[in-house]
Symmetry: D2
Subunit: 215 residues, 4 copies
Amino acid sequence: MSAELEVYQRQSFGRTLGLGRLAGLLVVDFVNGFNDPALFGGGNIGPAIERTVDLLASCRRMNLPIAFTRIVFEADGSDHNLFVAKVPALGQLTEPAVCSQIVPQLRPRPGELVVRKRLPSAFFGTDLAAWFTARGVDTLLIVGCTTSGCVRASVLDALCHGFRPIVITDCVGDRAIAPHDANLFDLGQKYADLLSRDAVMNALRAPQRHLSASN
Amino acid sequence: MSAELEVYQRQSFGRTLGLGRLAGLLVVDFVNGFNDPALFGGGNIGPAIERTVDLLASCRRMNLPIAFTRIVFEADGSDHNLFVAKVPALGQLTEPAVCSQIVPQLRPRPGELVVRKRLPSAFFGTDLAAWFTARGVDTLLIVGCTTSGCVRASVLDALCHGFRPIVITDCVGDRAIAPHDANLFDLGQKYADLLSRDAVMNALRAPQRHLSASN
Amino acid sequence: MSAELEVYQRQSFGRTLGLGRLAGLLVVDFVNGFNDPALFGGGNIGPAIERTVDLLASCRRMNLPIAFTRIVFEADGSDHNLFVAKVPALGQLTEPAVCSQIVPQLRPRPGELVVRKRLPSAFFGTDLAAWFTARGVDTLLIVGCTTSGCVRASVLDALCHGFRPIVITDCVGDRAIAPHDANLFDLGQKYADLLSRDAVMNALRAPQRHLSASN
Amino acid sequence: MSAELEVYQRQSFGRTLGLGRLAGLLVVDFVNGFNDPALFGGGNIGPAIERTVDLLASCRRMNLPIAFTRIVFEADGSDHNLFVAKVPALGQLTEPAVCSQIVPQLRPRPGELVVRKRLPSAFFGTDLAAWFTARGVDTLLIVGCTTSGCVRASVLDALCHGFRPIVITDCVGDRAIAPHDANLFDLGQKYADLLSRDAVMNALRAPQRHLSASN
């Protein structure tokens, strides 16, 4: 994409947002059904989940506000929407279904928020933005799946709500790699800083918490 | 993307939403600055604008509710947000600036809504969803630029707000073709029906208004 | 309030919105805990619940889209917000608690939406507006409790989202009568039509569905 | 309202939220048309404006983020909504109209945000919440008019968005005193702390910034 990149750079895209005063962690849709290639998974989602384990532990040690999302629909279809009309298998993600539970290695702890949602963005039709605002968060570390779906939607809405989004590139995954790559390009150029997990963990540890994005 | 497509089809993505009872037209950011390769334009945006002229005339003949968007920032920077921080040149799009005016060939008429926005989506931080809801619209024909930016964000939010989004594939454009194509793939699989302008115009004319999406 | 009324009339407040094409029914917070004076109830809430039974049956016969709300918080406090900080007893309204269940005489049926919320408005932080929009609703019949709290907040947000709100004056109730009356005054002057249950039921039955508000 | 108050206290209403880390100032609709009894004014709005002059100066000295709202509609009626349908005279508040300009004694300075809105709440259909969030604000001092209309709607939405609302009781006003008083009661019981201007100014000056609400 070197030709594209030249256009974007000439038009001033892709600047760095940096880290603000307080970061929160947002874990998007890392549930069993998205870890299962037979259902909604595949691609690089499994490794992204594994790499998130240490990041989550690190954020817990720092007492950062942590929120998880799950897609949950009613079994009677009363809350089905246009997203389910477009992707009917999502209707399997009911409250008790195994496929809608957060993967065991990332199980939320008491006091960590679990947001139920019926749309791609973690913010649309939820009170998540208020939850982070009330806790003084101005920066969001974002991991999860899929990069081209609920992660991208959540990253964009994070920016719109006034939170600096940092996409942790090796802790997000997608069922297919071409959309994963294409969406990381868009996100890095327009809406978010892109950083590896280790770069983020080093930056959070640093006393002055200064981040330089390395796309 | 045939391997990707196979995964998406197996996981039930890409179903057709179809046309509802009443369609509205949403024209996203077809302003001079996005028609100018030296500013935010390039790629296939120019042809998309030209192909929209007839579509707009057709929607006007049918008295469909029509809304346009413009990005507008204050000259004093008081309303600058993280989107401008990421893409600083957007700050040039002030109310009187030539680059922020809708292109002459698509000039809005009295009674058509012009939404000023400071973020990618036509819906975020605006009252556009309520405007369409109050007019009984349940389907949105969406044209504009850029496919990978404000169009995609607006299409997704249209779906989230309960409007069936129809992306008119030859009336949307982007400054670079690879992101244009990658985003049309995502939109067609997850959030919207994709139709050519002529297919939409034929469907709107048909007495029973039945659409079959041909991705 | 005759002096106040004169000011409002002179300044053009209090016009009638009327009934649109399709009405939905919104039942706000008629749960056991708001029917119990020892918890959040009292005043005229009990009679408002009883008068809603026939209205609900009538709306079901007409196949109107019907949505209910419940306030639901997590037992671990992870989702507690400023509303709970202001009114701590709300934290008792957990998913399994008897006090958070919809009263038995208004029990939702399969296919009717039950919205869980953590804030006064039925719309804030929920996808309720999209649910009604996708069903073609442009008018909302609103009942529930409390008039000065969650009903008022929901009526105002209904208006903001583009739905004509009709407050059914004898199917809304409050724990204290002075705030009930003061809020009906505000709602009728600024945001909604006020009609009795019988007037609404007659209007819905009429072939031409024309409503004249009688404040 | 002593009987009402007893009910509210027994049910745990009316707790104090207190001041957070950083306060912003929100000035709601203090425009010429709401200072003019012949248009939308009257009651105690004039004195509320005068008492806000010193508060604004004080907030500027402390470099608090400051935002103002104006109601602005298009002259061609393209953006008229259900609020204008309910209160038709609001349509006079067009961009150039004298009645829609902020009163001269509170004129915004460069860098202070002026939000144009078409609905009661300063937050609905605007990007105001993101503006405060991006600036680290978690507490909002709220002044303006009218108490029973746009102030109440803005206070409630402030709470919903995660900002602790502090209503400055002698810097808010209404066209009629009974609704002013009734709404201050509701706000203090359910959604906000109520403080006099002098109490707020003293608290902001104090090194430890500790507020005790005196309803």
